[in-house]
């Protein structure tokens, strides 16, 4: 009997050790330097707030921390869309001026592998920019660093919140070096292909209501006109 207890206690400790190794994996983490930083193409920067009440509309399954906005917006509660979020937001340029409108769909990815420190999200953007026309952006994002550095510390904190200065690139694909794929829809860049990177800059998060001061940034390498 005591051997069985010893084995079980060992197994429990083994599971705990594994979880700690997973959480404190030193090899995990997204790059903080954009692969587009060395691009010779012109870069278009689009920023947006990740706080739901700052958006035009935000919806999810209605059971998450981030509450849909406005309050009476339809929620995505049906089984096939329950793990999906939709955001409609004004995009601003690097000077903070309105520069476009973006619709973002994000769904939890079945390729998520916690053992690789990957919490993956398949997301697509539908963007209208008066300067460039319309774009479709397809990317896979890894939110592990976001959960690891912000969400978990906020939940463990006595004040149910996190404050600090945090920046990470969330794009990890589908292109090489973790670059997102862009396709022009209408306008000068109709049917052209381009690359993009999305990142998050955070300074406050509430474990109760979600992002409190957090900005998303989408950088698109604009193809040269022939």
């Amino acid at each position: 009997m005591k051997y069985l207890i010893s084995l079980l206690v060992g197994m429990v400790i083994g599971v705990v050790v594994f979880v700690l190794l997973l959480y404190y994996n030193p090899f995990a983490g997204n790059p903080s330097v954009s692969p587009l930083a060395v691009s010779e193409l012109d870069l278009a920067d689009f920023s947006y707030s990740l706080v739901a009440r700052d958006s035009i509309a935000y919806t999810n399954d209605g059971e998450s921390r981030m509450q849909p906005h406005p309050a009476k917006v339809l929620q995505l509660w049906e089984p096939a869309v329950k793990k999906t979020r939709a955001l409609v937001t004004v995009l601003t340029d690097s000077r903070g001026q309105p520069a476009g409108l973006g619709v973002k769909f994000s769904s939890d990815s079945e390729t998520t592998r916690l053992i690789n420190a990957e919490v993956l999200v398949d997301s697509v953007w539908h963007i209208y920019s008066p300067e460039y026309g319309t774009f479709f952006v397809d990317q896979t994002e890894n939110l592990w660093p976001y959960l690891h550095d912000i969400v978990v510390p906020a939940r463990m904190s006595g004040g149910d919140s996190w404050r600090g200065s945090w920046y990470r690139i969330t794009s990890v694909g589908p292109g090489a070096l973790g670059i997102a794929r862009v396709k022009g829809g209408s306008g000068d860049f109709a049917d052209t292909e381009a690359e993009a990177i999305e990142s998050i800059t955070a300074s406050a998060y509430s474990a109760i209501t979600g992002p409190a001061a957090m900005t998303g940034n989408l950088t698109i390498a604009i193809p040269r006109q022939e």
Binding site: G10, L76, V81, S107, G185
Partner: protein, 208 residues
Amino acid sequence: MSGAPCAGANLDSQEQDLLKTFYLGIVLGIAAAAALIYVYPVVDQHREPSLISVLPNGGNSESFYIRLPGDRIMAGVAGSTESTPPALEWPEHDFLANMQTELFKVRNEKGVVIGAASRMSGTSEQHGSFVEWVVHLPARGSMFVTMAANPSPDGYREGRLRAGTREFLTLNGAMVERFVNEVDDSDSDDMGQIELVTAFVGLAEELK
């Protein structure tokens, strides 16, 4: 007195066995947790069967439906007095003056919600007129379709698949959009529905 050392030796041996069992437990615990986390899917998207019909060219055709107004999540139109959803504050920027953005839930032929979609339409001096769809099906992928600016005399609007992800990544083809007034269910509040019919073909079929 002569039995004492022997009892001590037995105890040490037992303790060592217990310790070995404990260490074995730790290794088993780590291995079991790793195996569980590797094998068990953390995310398992709900799937509805794809209701696809095969076309003569080897491609496939599929229909998607959006019931109005029930499936409209958001409608953003400059200067509109009625907003969807209620309390929506549509920004009054100049560049949004001639455009409309809508968000919908998307259903399959059986009427089951399988995804969401955005439809952008507008006119600008610089870029001309455009009508575009992004249809996002979480379990399958997304498609980006640009439509003809003007509908046909029959009320259809034809479009082309510009880009796709996952299941739609390697496909080419067309999509037709039309508004259908008839509603089968007379008790329903629906005003009608938008029908999106896709006809896509894979690269392999295209080469044949």
